[in-house]
Symmetry: C2
Subunit: 355 residues, 2 copies
């Protein structure tokens, strides 16, 4: 399998990206190949000569870089030789089996969607993030690819995230919840109410109805679906709160005896790592015709390594085939295919939230 | 000042409610009067005879109770003698200066809005919650009264929450942020983009533009405004995450030496209390023509006591006058008054999220 990685994506590129790629090698098989995409002059000196000789890692030249805060579609148009653009083109031409980037999320979504197109039966791709909760991992989709959703989008997220939960996380019959402001059926905004009805009509789905945000952490569901705006806010709130709480804990500990504080430090670090969703590796862009992982901008080598291994699991597990099969066997998805591919990243411009 | 409290509201009613009322007395002045609303037969035996004699606390009969999970408006129609209905009627008739309830949030919003009407210049009331973050308290509005907002609603939340932040929390020139999925101007859904433009046109407001969820915990703003759906999800996510994290910490500690774990326990409890927004007392329903506090369903006596003291601060500080003055002096609010009061809780039916 060939896995292409944006060497210039994220706040810690290229060093942490390249390290992550190198760290992943021992977990890959002999037939696997890593492709680092970026300026050769920067990447090559950072690769140990042994790897270059063995041909495990190759470089594909991409001289330009889209910065984290650039407007997605505009920058893609301007920088056709950016690492993200080149990555997407490799996927389009069948020159890689998976793409991974920790760069500008909006640009990734737009480029991957435009070049890779959507899976048959899927109207809009969605980014899924796995929250490692105390009660087990919960897959949340969408967290920023599709800001304002139609009910059919949310239904398809339910299907795709369920497949991910089942075949990647190993949860047998994932329980799907629709994020709302109360578990009662009548609660929610218009999109939620219509989606509830739509998903109910799929009897094969293990749909538990509306869930409240707090229930995500209480083991109520394995998959939580929501509009990209809501999912992105949830993601960011979680990130800020976890950081803030650990800061608060540190602050309180510093007021205790220093010896006591030092004893708790390793415990705190252990918990932080266990419940940090970044450690889970990349977030799959579900619904594109290929394997695409988007990583947090602050990704370190470990996240990149995990994303590489996740993308392999996704590709080898033929998750996309399972999604297409489910949607084609299910009458709900009929008649919606006309829209697929037609939205090639266009409406994502300036709207996509970073993860 | 007269403060009416729903003795039957919340999971811990009536005992914790009555205790909270009693605990507040030492912080009130001689002229203050507490009115407990609920079934006299249940409340009276729980009051120490001394208080009954002194006339500090009186009881207003309300034989019915709206349960926490009942559909708001329907139950208000059916149970006209419920504690929430009676509370709202006391406010309408001018028989109390403030109302407080930890009961069904949707029913409270609908009843208070219908009976108390809106402040001049306010189209829709919003619930404001104070998040005690590491960087100071942040007032978030709306967290569930108005599920889908118009830009003018969000602008008015910015005005009202700023007044609350300034005069109740003592923040001199509160920085207002609009919750979105990125700080860049072009990010967000349609409502956010239009609201950004609208608020920008008020030069008097200390508006810092879009903020991401995580920035709320990083001290970026003092006031964060959002649609009720988003705010309610944020509130619930925070609640679930804090609980989940502390559960995780407890779990990890239990795997350590018991002596070490025990030393950590008081520190954890201290932090939990410090950062638990419930401890802040009630959440004001900003925009109604009166003083109304809605408390979390799980409120204990301390929250009720704090809500009583907050409502006094709100009333004595004439916050509503300041809101009306600001809106009347500001051209943005002109021409929108026609809507006020006309929405008497109707659209809240079945849509309001609990806090």
């Amino acid at each position: 399998m060939r896995i292409a990685i944006d060497a210039m994506g994220g706040d810690n590129a290229p060093d942490e990206i390249i390290s992550g790629a190198l760290e992943s090698i021992e977990f890959l098989s002999e037939n696997d190949e890593l492709i680092l995409v970026g300026p050769r002059a920067i990447i090559e000196p950072k690769l140990p000569s042994s790897h270059r000789r063995e041909g495990v890692i190759s470089i594909v030249e991409a001289p330009e870089v889209i910065e984290m805060d650039e407007p997605p579609v505009e920058s893609l148009r301007r920088k056709v030789k950016s690492s993200i653009s080149v990555l997407a083109k490799l996927a389009k031409r069948g020159q890689t089996d998976a793409v991974i980037s920790a760069g500008n999320t909006g640009a990734c979504v737009a480029a991957f969607q435009m070049r890779m197109r959507n899976l048959p039966g899927v109207n809009r791709p969605g980014i899924a993030v796995v929250f490692p909760t105390f009660s087990g991992p919960v897959t949340i989709c969408d967290v920023g690819a599709n800001i304002s959703c139609k009910p059919i989008n949310l239904y398809q997220y339910a299907v795709m995230a369920s497949m991910y939960s089942k075949y990647i996380l190993g949860i047998e019959n994932p329980r799907v919840g629709l994020v709302s402001i109360g578990s009662e059926e009548a609660k929610g905004n218009e999109v939620v109410k219509k989606t509830l009805e739509l998903i109910r009509s799929d009897e094969k789905m293990n749909f538990i109805g509306n869930i409240e945000g707090r229930e995500i952490f209480e083991g109520a569901c394995d998959v939580a679906i929501c509009e990209g705006f809501v999912g992105n806010v949830m993601l960011k709130i979680t990130e800020g709160l976890v950081k803030g709480l650990f800061k608060a804990i540190k602050h309180e500990l510093m007021q205790e005896k220093i010896r006591l504080a030092m004893k708790f430090k390793p415990i705190m670090i252990r918990i932080y790592k266990k419940y940090d969703y970044n450690e889970y590796g990349g977030a799959p862009l579900l619904g594109v015709n290929g394997t695409a992982m988007i990583c947090h901008g602050s990704s370190k080598s470990m996240t990149i390594k995990n994303a590489i291994l996740s993308s392999k699991k996704y590709y080898m597990g033929k998750i996309n085939d399972k999604i297409v099969d489910y949607l084609s066997e299910n009458p709900l998805s009929n008649g919606t295919n006309g829209e697929q591919g037609a939205n090639g990243g266009k409406s994502e411009d300036k709207a996509t939230g970073s993860i």
